[in-house]
């Protein structure tokens, strides 16, 4: 099934011409621009097996003759495009029509008629493509997703970041990795998702509630990362090797992925290693900000006409130091720390060592995905996923207990899902699904500290349905309903006595979406979702001081469902030579919004005073808009402009919600140049300017420090690529924060303590074989 889509995507048609005798076969082709539908000139067609190549003429046509019958690899390149690879068995004269997408790092997915069940009809759907990912190897998932306007990264220092969609994150944004919703301790602001994007082929974001398919944890949207899996019919071993060095933090990062088809089976292996040391601001080193990250993925997939099965195994390890100067004891320390120009514990010299305070996370995933075609119009899918997540947090402690974690939680998650898809006719289809999720959280004894989150079991059955109708050829509407039940069984200590509690929540979610394409010029998408999100375990039962927050967080067992209504309208205008314009507006009204309300009086303990926060409900709205304008100034240069504003308002306290992203404006210019046309050696320059404004509407009394002033960052990169070669290599030199700007980021929780990292010069080597 997947195979069909991939191939359809770039081969339009293969037709066989008249039969010929041995070694006189002619291979002809036509390459069209995927965007303009016109013939593409100067595309190179390379057959590495016989070392032959050709160029397309001004009609996009090319020809290679005198070929013997056999199987050939074909590599098609064009200035500024991603390489396309084909594998063909040729026995007679053949004509190939290929579509080459001449697009960029950021893509607004405008395909209204989705092939597969995805419930994305009305949703603003954006993708960061492989072109961007291949040249920037050492970013986290949130940093990649941040490229998409409306998405931000909320951070705790330089290593920990999580995606924020339209101002919301954590329990309200689902993270999917290769079709699996990640189950970790996602509630914490300082818990980054257990996903490595080193080998990702694309990162997509659905802005708009995706709760019908993924559950109420996707209230604000979903971030989807897919591994770079090749499911072509090519029986040879192919893959990518990438090495990245970053000067700031002296980081080394290696990623390798391999794909091979043998018989019916497509196998994929991905591995990545990353190690960085202390990051440096323009003036000082940020002590203890090293990171060590490893991931290993194995996917085996058997694709047949009537059924397919896919096994996925993933291991992920994350070991990150927490900025030493952000580890503070109490409010007095905090006041001392925030008034300092240069934080405590900064040093003149660089270190790789990762000491306490630190986080060590291990995550293992196993998934089976089975699809069966009952008849051409009926499919069913079975999915089973198990995930084991162990999170350890280490603090600086007395009496050699620093090596003992203060938090040691083992979360086991099991997820069963069945889907039944029926296409009643070519314009009407429906999907019915059931899902059962069982999560068990266990605090491993021996930490010597009170548990922040109790031991619990969550039993979560779900029922859902989606109906999709095509109206004429260019409009599609979709409606969905989902029922969820959350049952928590909790064992916790209250005043040192074991107490058992249980909570039961029912919720009903509904969605309506419309997607339309008018005359290839306008795409219009609108999505309206109602989500009733039950309170999560931390909102109900957390009790204690969270690492580095100096905040005593108290759960509230009397919380009720958070009911939200989110609408997103996304309009795309394709003005051909005048560029592509896309604009999205969202409004999100939340009743019973669950958030942390600060108490007026701090809690007094023997360690001094602490801020106290209670989880509470209030009525809130979030609104905003974002836009992208992309234009080709000449055939090989592109200008990208984007910007966005998000506003939030708590209707009870009449204040903005903390951590709402400040407005931003970005511009990027890129130029592709041939060094040698005959060898298809090209160079790509790109320079980007991004300005983040000061968040001016947070009142002074709301936060410890006023939001930091606005700042402008300059990023630039140069990529060299050689296409016609048996060993195609791509080298990128990139500069992040080129001007070594000293700034603080409002969305970084450690902005109270230290500046952001300064300039980094990165070298990325990509070998595509």
């Amino acid at each position: 099934m997947l195979k069909k889509i991939t191939i359809l995507f770039f081969i339009l048609k293969i037709s066989y011409l008249h039969g010929q005798t041995a070694c006189s076969i002619t291979l002809k082709g036509k390459i069209v621009d995927g965007h303009e539908q016109a013939g593409l000139e100067y595309a190179s067609i390379f057959l590495p097996d016989v070392n032959r190549f050709a160029y397309s003429d001004k009609n996009g046509e090319w020809i290679i003759d005198g070929l013997c019958p056999g199987a050939y690899h074909l590599k098609i390149d064009h200035l500024g495009c991603e390489s396309k690879k084909l594998f063909l068995t040729i026995t007679k004269d053949t004509l190939i029509q290929t579509k080459l997408e001449h697009h960029t790092e950021l893509l607004s997915v405008v395909d209204v008629m989705d092939q597969r069940y995805s419930s994305s009809v009305g949703k603003a759907n954006y993708e960061v493509t492989g072109k961007f990912l291949s040249k920037s190897a050492s970013l986290s998932l949130a940093e990649v997703a941040k490229l998409i306007p409306g998405v931000d990264a909320v951070r705790s220092g330089s290593n920990i970041s999580k995606p924020l969609i339209h101002g919301l994150s954590g329990n309200r944004v689902a993270i999917m990795n290769d079709g699996i919703v990640i189950e970790g301790q996602q509630w914490g602001m300082d818990h980054s998702p257990e996903v490595d994007v080193s080998n990702a082929g694309s990162v997509k974001v659905l802005k708009g509630s995706a709760a019908i398919l993924y559950g109420s944890m996707a209230t604000a949207g979903v971030v989807i990362s897919e591994s770079d899996i090749n499911v072509s019919s090519d029986p040879h071993l192919h893959g990518k090797f990438r090495y990245n060095f970053q000067s700031n933090g002296l980081g080394n990062h290696i990623a390798l992925n391999l794909s091979k088809k043998s018989g019916d089976w497509h196998q994929y292996l991905g591995a990545a290693l990353k190690r960085t040391g202390d990051m440096k601001t323009p003036t000082y080193y940020l002590r203890n900000t090293g990171l060590s990250e490893q991931s290993l993925d194995y996917i085996a997939q058997r694709i047949r006409d009537k059924s397919s099965i896919k096994y996925t195994f993933k291991l992920y390890r994350f070991n990150a130091g927490i900025l030493r100067s952000a580890h503070i004891g109490n409010l007095t320390d905090l006041k001392g720390a925030i008034t300092r120009e240069i934080p405590f514990f900064t040093e003149e010299n660089f270190k790789y060592t990762i000491n306490a305070p630190k986080q060590a996370v291990n995550h293992a995933t196993f998934n089976v995905n089975y699809q069966k075609t009952l008849s051409p119009s009926k499919n069913y899918y079975l999915k089973y996923t198990t995930q084991i997540n162990n999170r350890k947090e280490f603090d600086v402690r007395r009496a050699e207990r620093t090596g003992t974690p203060v938090v040691d939680m083992l979360l086991t998650s099991n997820h069963f899902e069945t889907l039944y898809e029926h296409k009643i006719n070519h314009s009407l289809k429906y999907l019915l699904g059931t899902a059962l999720r069982v999560n068990v959280n266990y605090n491993i004894p021996g930490t010597g500290s009170l548990t922040l989150l109790p031991d619990y079991r969550l039993f979560n059955p779900n029922l859902f349905g989606i109906i999709t109708k095509k109206i004429k050829n260019h409009t599609q509407i979709e409606g969905g309903l989902r029922y969820e039940n959350h049952q928590y069984f909790v064992e916790r200590f209250v005043n040192r006595t074991l107490t058992k509690n249980s909570s039961n929540f029912h919720s009903l979610n509904a969605n309506f979406g419309i997607g339309s394409r008018i005359k290839d010029v306008i795409t219009f998408k609108a999505d309206l979702s109602y989500v009733s999100r039950p309170p999560q375990i931390n909102e109900l039962y957390s009790n204690g001081v969270h690492q580095g927050l100096v905040a005593f967080e108290l759960g509230n067992v009397s919380l009720t469902n958070e009911n939200s209504l989110k609408s997103v309208i996304d309009v795309g205008l394709d003005l051909h030579h005048f560029g592509h314009f896309s604009f999205a507006f969202f409004a999100h009204r939340i009743n019973n919004f669950i958030y942390l309300l600060p108490r007026r009086e701090p809690i007094l303990t023997i360690r001094g005073a602490f801020f106290a926060f209670d989880y509470t409900n209030s009525d809130t709205w979030l609104r905003g808009f974002e836009g992208i304008y992309k234009v080709n100034l000449a055939h090989s240069s592109e200008l990208l402009l984007s910007g966005g504003v998000t506003r939030s308002f708590n209707r009870d306290t009449k204040e903005e919600i903390l951590w709402t992203p400040p407005p931003f404006l970005k511009t990027q210019f890129s130029q592709d140049l041939y060094i040698s046309k005959s060898k298809n050696q090209e160079i790509n320059f790109s320079v980007g300017l991004e300005h983040t404004f000061e968040n001016q509407i947070v009142s002074a009394s709301q936060d410890l420090l006023p939001p930091p002033p606005g700042y402008t960052l300059v990023n630039a990169d140069v990529t060299y690529k050689q296409s016609i070669s048996k060993r195609p290599i791509q080298i990128t030199l990139s500069f992040r924060n080129l001007l070594n700007e000293t700034y603080r980021n409002y969305l970084n929780r450690f902005r109270y303590f230290a500046d952001e990292p300064g300039r980094s010069i990165d070298v990325t080597l990509l070998y595509n074989f």
């Binding site: 503070i328 089976v368 079975l382 600086v396 007395r398 605090n443 021996g446 005043n495 303990t605 023997i606």
Partner: protein
């Protein structure tokens, strides 16, 4: 075949569900509940005790703070005792601090008392478990006792009890209302 596979998986999953019921742990908590500052007059006489007790730890019941009055124009030998009284018998945290004396230092900030260090760590820097406390004229004021973990003892003034340059993080911070009669 495929059915068998899924029955297998269902079986595995159900095993996981059954076996994953939680057993509660009795965590030994690394908690400080009690700070006692015993002040014995150098010339003899009744000792004065200042104490801060929060037996149930952070949150829950509020801590109990008590301070007996001191005599004017008197010099006291001060001795700090730190305990975890949530355990039975109680844990002596003082010994832990003594064992890691280089990584700890107490600080005393007062508007009415003069506090000097009389002990030293292995590097010859002050620790503060033992002190000399002197009073002058009668009056009322405050005394704040702070225990810093991993302070920078070589930073300017830290040896003399200046807390603002010390860095580190606070393990204990308690404040007493002091009366000098």
């Amino acid at each position: 075949m495929k059915k068998n596979l899924f029955y297998c998986l269902a079986f595995v999953a159900s095993i996981m569900l059954i076996s994953s019921c939680t057993k509660e742990d009795s965590n030994d908590e690394e908690l400080i509940t009690t700070l006692t500052y015993k002040l014995t007059p150098v010339g003899g006489g009744n000792a004065v005790t200042l104490s801060f007790r929060d037996i149930d730890g952070d949150g829950g019941n509020a801590p109990v703070i008590s301070a007996s009055p001191l005599k004017a124009n008197t010099v006291y030998n001060g001795e700090l005792t730190i305990l975890n009284e949530s355990e039975s018998p109680s844990d002596d945290i003082t010994a832990e601090i003594k064992a890691e004396d280089k990584e700890h230092q107490f600080f005393f900030e007062s508007s009415i008392l003069k506090v000097e260090y009389t002990d030293k760590d292995a590097n010859g820097n002050p620790l503060g478990l033992l002190t000399k406390v002197s009073t002058t004229a009668p009056g009322t004021g405050k005394l704040k006792v702070t225990l810093k973990h991993e302070p920078n003892k070589t930073a300017s003034g830290v040896k003399d009890g200046k807390i603002s340059n010390a860095g580190g993080e606070t393990d204990i911070e308690v404040e007493f209302n002091i009366t000098v009669q």
